[in-house]
Symmetry: C2
Subunit: 563 residues, 2 copies
């Protein structure tokens, strides 16, 4: 499959003229078309159907973002270096076969395991050094010289949506739930990337972040899918089984309706874009393998040549992300939960001490007082240390004497809440690879890619039976007409017609239009089906409407019956 | 305009909760829609109309790529640091007003100029230090520890296409001309980015690289556009003037037909996406400001609040790029120019010395001999030093004694040529900003964005006259129907109808559909035109076809007449 992918221009290892770099791939013309098709279909679902808001943030971010998110501290792998040849390896890779889940072990445990089994360098048999923690983010400097600032390339697109929560909330008309999506690249400095396109140092993601009220995780649209069956592998279970979504939520296999809905949406979407249902499952994370932020997580996994491979993670991240940025930035990353009627309640409030603020902050004291009064008491430092506030981009330290916590009775119209986040996170490259893997069928030497019309890189080919006698001109006319309306279409007049069909079957082109001598007489052409090799004769004027509908997965049956 | 952009969610400075980072912006929901629209329209032109091949390469590249391209050495700015406050500045910025083109000065010249005018730190009035050269690429390390490799984030997408020339040539059926495009992000570590979104550290590009035969720069489609007039400002001229493309090529104002064609295509495309023709010009680079690789370059410039701003560069890069990678990598980055009939010619050839190669390279000697015989004599080191070859990713040094140059008579079917490159390079962010700037019209307090349908982020709004009596349900039905077929559509039932129209005019929504009490009686709705505020009543069943055609710039005249 990878040799086909390279030969026909789906994808290939990048920078091969310079010896290549592990973990970096190029998409060729067919791969880029497929990638655009996949991203646009995903966008149609999340943006149009589910009404998420799309944003697009920089990949480069200042250190503060990843300090808050925990990536600076937690987003690490244990790496061992060979003392002789200096090659680096992932410590858990060296421990494969020595433990059931080596990646869940702590540094010391892993080192003891490696010592115990006398593991040495796989390349040169040299002695290995003790594992050290290695941060997987690419680090760089923003700006020049001493004024330069520490920066990192994002390892996921998610943080851009979290730091923008208050803007997203405002643009979503100040209501929960509100969702944001982002499609773009991220990078992870993998220590020794293996498995070709499945573990990349630079990769494409499609991520959705749904901000919900922490106590309201029901979902109106859930009722519509409650009877749908999907294949689940819950944590602690040995084998996957079919279950309806209704049952899964009722039995608390999936924690709540909204998480279950997006588990289902992911399942459905993967099948729509061409994955084989019988090689697909939703697996729940074990406690020990969960990322530092998640409270529950389901992976969509596909069975590939490499075994079961994660394509999508659907996680309930709780309040982790927004809370983290709220407390690190001091920005008001909260939603306002309005009561039906104002209520009189007793509550603790932060009260600025104006007598102290005035002399200390002078012209800025009003702004500091306002910022203080917006805080909730649990945002204050517990240890009496200075409170750090960011006001108009400036960091300001405020001593504990500048405010106090008072209990007041107040008529309030609602309360501020920190939203929880439901995150479906899709790996574009892995999904593309999995689609190709599941679509690939070989009978003898004959290869067909059974791609759905919506992802097929070429929708239709126009082939003159022979490249002369005006058949070429007639075919070229059709080709230009389809191209003009934006359809991805191939023209080919070289070689036998059988060889040309084979070339199109190999790249998954759903239909071929053949222009023959009858076309010149009666304006008809044949349409040939990729999957069955069957042909049907139709009027030339119908080609355009057939071609337009291929991206909606028009079937050959529909072509034949003219529906 | 920027405040509107932020308020309504086109774009805003990134990471504001952490004080922001100069040169980094987020696209909000409206900006992301516009960006997708622009990129897709551009793709439609280059991919479908002009038949370029799209590829997508990593942003991260190993050092070797930028050694070859010259970026490691040449892609620099002169930076001066304040000896007191340590802030860095671009040296040419400090010399503004002291010289006509400070950016064209060499290091010493610039330093003398700054000394002569006693320039000091603009921030703290401290003494400035001598300018030093600062590379504008973001540097990072690929992989861990001692085995890590020096890497850079690309400053343009172009190199990915150059290093892939032989694959692109093969996939384009081994013919010149062949073109590749790439849409994606690049980064430049600007020293002190100013002018908001016009000088970004991370930005989006749409680049096309057309590989042509060095001696064949005519272009069949040129004849079709030869009579088109565009506004040109040739180098050395004081003012821009209208000229036909035919005249420009004939008078050698533009060097050749193919360059002229893409100058025209760029001009046309910018007007299509909404730029005002009277604030647009194509300016030729002066010799001194040309990038290190270009032999001729025309910039599309738009007149904005900041003055004339470059949006697109259309350059003839000669053989620079492909030659550079050919000689650095040793890969066969050449096209084969086949003669109509084989010719007998005398030529110099590299002849491997098998007697030397065998003992030196053993099992690899056949591969080395083959690589040698593929070289042309001008690829050999002139100084007798070892020749560096890359064979299956391995660097191999070959002594001069291993080969000789011999003159032979040969019947040849063609010759190898290193292609020239014509490069239209589009800055997405600047074009988007320029479109907004030119589209913005304010009468009193009333703002309209006159965006063409093809780039407008929201194509159509569906508004119930009032949000009750079933008008809301009827409007919501239309909204859902349009959304289901992928149209970007807004539903809004809050506030007076006038205010809702104003909100849509302000973001450039071409049409509003209003559902009123008559709709419930006779299934008609009104369609309101953004630009004229005029309304017309049409049957509800026509809304879908109207909405579908907005991205093809359907006019209100066409809506009224039903054509």
């Amino acid at each position: 499959m990878l040799s086909l992918a390279k030969r026909r221009g789906f994808l290939w290892p990048a920078y091969d003229i310079y010896g290549g770099v592990a973990g970096l791939y190029d998409y060729g013309p067919l791969g880029a078309e497929m990638k655009n098709n996949l991203e646009n279909y995903w966008r149609q679902i999340y943006l149009r159907q589910e009404k998420f808001l799309e944003i697009s943030c920089p990949m480069l971010a200042p250190k503060e973002v990843f300090e808050a998110s925990g990536h600076l501290k937690e987003f690490t792998d244990l790496v061992v270096q060979c003392s002789k040849c200096k090659t680096s390896f992932r410590a858990d890779h060296l421990a494969e076969g020595l433990h059931e889940h080596p990646s869940t072990l702590k540094r010391k445990e892993l080192w003891n395991l490696l010592i115990e089994h006398e593991v040495c360098c796989p390349d040169c048999k040299g002695e290995i050094e003790e594992p050290v923690s290695f941060n997987l983010m690419f680090k760089t400097a923003i700006g020049a010289g001493a004024a330069g600032r520490e920066g990192y390339i994002r390892p996921e697109t998610a943080q851009g949506m979290f730091v923008n929560f208050s803007t997203i909330y405002r643009l979503g008309r100040e209501k929960l739930p509100v969702g944001a999506i982002q499609i773009g690249k991220s990078m992870r400095n993998e220590i020794s990337p293996r498995q070709g396109v499945l573990r990349l140092r630079e990769f494409n993601m499609m991520e959705a972040e749904l901000f919900v009220h922490p106590e309201r995780k029901s979902w109106p649209k859930f009722a519509k899918v409650a009877d749908e069956k999907i294949v689940l592998l819950p944590s602690g279970c040995d084998s996957a089984a079919e279950m309806t979504l209704g049952e899964a939520v009722e039995k608390k296999v999936i924690m709540n309706e909204v998480l279950a809905y997006f588990v289902w949406l992911t399942w459905k979407l993967l099948i729509d874009v061409g994955l084989d249902r019988s090689r697909l499952r939703m697996r729940q994370h074990e406690r020990t393998e969960m990322a530092h932020y998640a409270t529950d997580c389901w992976d969509a996994e596909a069975l590939l040549g490499y075994g079961w491979v994660e394509l999508v993670g659907v996680a309930d991240r709780g309040c982790f992300d927004v809370s983290a940025h709220l407390s690190h930035s001091g920005a008001y990353l909260t939603a306002f939960d309005k009561f039906d009627e104002p209520k009189e309640i007793e509550l603790d409030k932060v009260k600025p001490n104006h007598a102290k603020l005035g002399p200390l902050f002078k012209g800025k004291s009003a702004a500091v007082a306002e910022a203080l009064s917006m805080l909730s008491p649990d945002q204050l430092p517990k240890d009496g240390s200075d409170l750090e506030l960011t006001i108009s981009g400036e960091r300001i330290s405020v001593q504990a004497a500048c405010y106090q916590v008072v209990r007041v009775k107040e008529k309030v119209s609602g309360v501020k809440v920190v939203p929880h986040v439901i995150e479906p996170s899709y790996g574009v490259d892995r999904i593309l690879y999995a689609i190709l893997d599941h679509a690939y069928h070989k009978e003898g030497d004959y290869v067909r890619l059974h791609l759905p019309g919506k992802v097929a890189p070429v929708k239709i080919a126009v082939l003159p039976l022979v490249g002369k006698d005006g058949l070429d001109t007639a075919a070229m006319e059709i080709y230009e007409e389809l191209t003009a309306i934006g359809i991805s279409c191939h023209y080919d007049d070289s070689g036998s017609i059988g060889r040309r069909y084979a070339r199109m079957d190999e790249i998954g082109t759903p239909f071929c239009v053949t222009v023959d001598y009858d076309t010149l007489k009666d304006d008809t052409v044949t349409i040939r089906d990729r999957d069955s090799s069957e042909q049907v004769r139709i009027g030339k004027e119908r080609v355009k409407s057939v071609a337009t509908r291929i991206s909606q997965d028009l079937s050959f049956e529909e072509v034949k019956t003219g529906t």
